[in-house]
């Protein structure tokens, strides 16, 4: 299988500075060594609690944050090694769609201009061709030419999200990172956008990293799912495998927490104690052990590695060997 994207032991630490001379006293280990590969045209779902480093991972892959260490290889090119100018040129391969449909569009530019600017940056088209490209992009995301001259404040949340998608598509990317792209939307609109994303993937063979905390949504759209906890991937598998046979206690808790829109099902919940610990003082041993209902002695001492248990089902847990 050919991988479009390979991420190898990617880390992103944010320094915490203090004192008169801004000395770095500590780090927020937002992403603490994650590795995965995505096959061209597939979708990787990335789930986990708030603050576990999903967005940071996404942005670090795009080098919107400079990675602390690790490698990102896209299409055989080592993205992490590019110098500033080549990086700028190469950026069109990877795009991002944001959660907040309000903050993600420049309120001073019309929908057409927003997409047009993306085209201009990489000189993808000009003149009449450019115009046509913008219109066709608008059409692709389900907007019409009448929207061309409208400003973001005249659009609803769902429509804004469509403009954001069109902007990302404008540079013909190979990969799009959807950072909670549907989380802020109402269920009815959410479904529209998910459908749109699927249509686009089919049409252009685009690869997605789909970040979300809603397991059901992720399951719907992904091929594989990675579960993150405190900067690390704790479980990764094919989506059906993951849902049918969750291995990591955290994954189980997550799955059981999903509210089911069916009053007849009263299922048992795995209750987790406490909250996510801070990524500054990461506990020794297994990161999850403080909240884990199944923890053993070894969990507190040794950090488990992510191990393939067969069939690409990878888990980082001492109790699943």
């Amino acid at each position: 299988m050919e991988y479009l994207l390979q991420v190898k032991d990617l880390k992103k630490y944010f320094p915490i500075k203090k004192g008169l001379f801004s000395k770095t006293v500590n780090y927020v280990k937002a992403v603490d060594g994650i590795s995965f590969n995505i096959v061209n045209g597939e979708t990787l779902g990335l789930v986990g609690e708030s603050g576990c480093g999903k967005s940071t991972a996404g942005r670090t892959i795009l080098r919107l944050y400079e990675p602390t260490s690790g490698e990102v290889i896209i299409d055989e090119i080592k993205f992490t090694d590019l110098d500033k100018e080549s990086l700028r040129k190469k950026r069109k391969d990877m795009q991002i769609i944001f959660q907040d449909p309000y903050a993600s569009l420049n309120p001073r530019l019309s929908a057409g201009e927003i997409i047009g600017r993306a085209i201009d940056i990489h000189n993808i088209a000009s003149g009449k061709e450019r115009q046509e490209k913008i219109l066709s992009l608008l059409d692709t995301v389900g907007l019409s030419s009448s929207h061309y001259n409208r400003y973001p404040n005249e659009f609803s949340g769902g429509q804004r999200q469509r403009i954001g998608i069109a902007r990302a598509l404008a540079v013909n990317p190979k990969l799009i990172i959807c950072d909670e792209a549907v989380s802020a939307l109402d269920v009815s609109i959410q479904a529209q956008i998910i459908n749109l994303l699927e249509d686009i993937q089919e049409k252009y063979k685009i690869t997605y990293i789909f970040i979300a905390h809603n397991m059901a949504v992720v399951k719907h759209i992904s091929n594989n799912i990675a579960v993150m906890y405190l900067g690390k991937i704790v479980e990764m598998a094919d989506k059906d495998e993951l849902f049918d046979n969750p291995m990591h206690p955290y994954t189980r808790a997550l799955l059981s927490a999903i509210p089911v829109p069916d009053p007849s099902i009263k299922h048992k919940r795995v209750r987790l104690q406490g909250d996510v610990p801070s990524p500054i003082d990461i506990p020794e041993g297994c990161r999850f052990c403080k909240r884990c209902p199944e923890k053993t002695d070894v969990c507190e001492k040794i950090e488990p590695e992510l191990i393939d248990l067969g069939g690409g089902h990878m888990v980082a847990c001492h109790n699943r060997r």
Binding site: L87, S104, L105, N106
Partner: protein, 300 residues
């Protein structure tokens, strides 16, 4: 994609309702604000007066005739009376509008050009931030009057130097206002999106960030215009501003204060003119701020 086309149908309504540019909604909100409209009215009148001063004013503002010194308000031929040289006060007040607007606009423009650039650079490049902000601190800690005094002593009193003095005076505050807006805006997703698209820093600063700092800048500029006009008047009062025979309101009020008992109108009228214009700009600025403020918008 049947749903999608339907979607757009539904949106047609939105289209009819919405105005084209984001600015038009602003006008609508501004119109509701009585104080702001009063401000706008005043400012427009002053503009017209300043523009057509030679046509409107009954006399040459510098024409002296000591035989008719210190006429009272309502004297025939001189509605607002005359000053100590027998110059027509109305004409001088009319011409004074020109100077006040000139000082206001030029000094604010001066302050804005430098302040905005400093603010943008300092907000966007965190490495330069602390150096620029230290300089700004020094300027801020420096007493304004003294700065004006020094500039005027060095370059000589006069309107241009007043403009420079007041301009320099506003640089640090503009820089701060812009910087804090930039710090906020540069973290917004649309700026990140521009970076993700591979846009250059220059484009990001001037095409993504700057246009979105415009509203605080406009609001600040209107308010600052008011302050600039006031400061110019105060400098003139201290003898550092406009020089004779220039019909500047502050200078007029200042020389007029010597006649405060015999001819109080010499101080009263230019003083009132200052208040009216400054009031105009302040109310307009207030109104703009409210109209541009997303918080208040939602609650109205």
């Amino acid at each position: 994609m049947a749903e999608i086309s339907k979607d757009t149908q539904a949106e047609k309504k939105v289209k009819n309702r919405s105005s084209k540019k984001p600015g038009l909604g602003l006008w609508k909100r501004l119109k509701k604000n009585k104080l702001a409209m009063a401000g706008l009215f005043i400012v427009s009148i002053i503009f017209i007066v300043a523009l057509f001063a030679p046509l409107i004013s009954p006399y040459d503002p510098d024409k002296q005739d000591v035989t008719i010194r210190l006429l009272k308000i309502g004297s025939p031929g001189h509605i607002l009376g005359t000053d100590e040289y027998g110059r027509d006060l109305l004409s001088r007040v009319i011409y004074g509008a020109r100077i006040s607007l000139l000082v206001g606009f030029c000094s604010v423009a001066f302050g804005l050009i430098f302040g905005v650039i400093l603010g943008l650079v300092s907000g966007y490049y965190s490495k330069l931030d602390s150096i620029i902000m230290r300089i700004v601190d020094i300027l801020l800690a420096f007493p304004g009057v003294l700065l004006a005094l020094a500039i005027v002593s060095a370059l000589g009193p006069g309107i241009i130097n007043v403009i420079i003095a007041i301009g320099i005076w506003s640089v640090p505050t503009v820089a701060r206002v812009v910087r804090s807006t930039v710090l906020y805006i540069k973290e917004l997703d649309y700026v990140t999106a521009a970076r993700a698209l591979g846009d250059t820093d220059f484009n990001i600063i001037f095409r993504e960030i700057l246009p979105n700092c415009i509203s605080p800048i406009i609001v600040y500029a209107t308010m600052r215009l008011a302050t600039a006009i006031l400061s110019a008047a105060t400098l003139s009062f201290l003898g550092l501003g406009a020089q004779p025979p220039m019909a500047e309101w502050g200078a007029m009020a200042s020389t007029g204060r010597n006649f405060i008992y015999q001819a109080p109108h010499l101080t009263l009228i230019p003083g009132a003119a200052i208040i009216i214009v400054v009031f105009g700009f302040n109310s307009l600025g207030d109104g703009l701020r409210d109209a541009l403020d997303p918080n208040l918008k939602n609650n109205l």
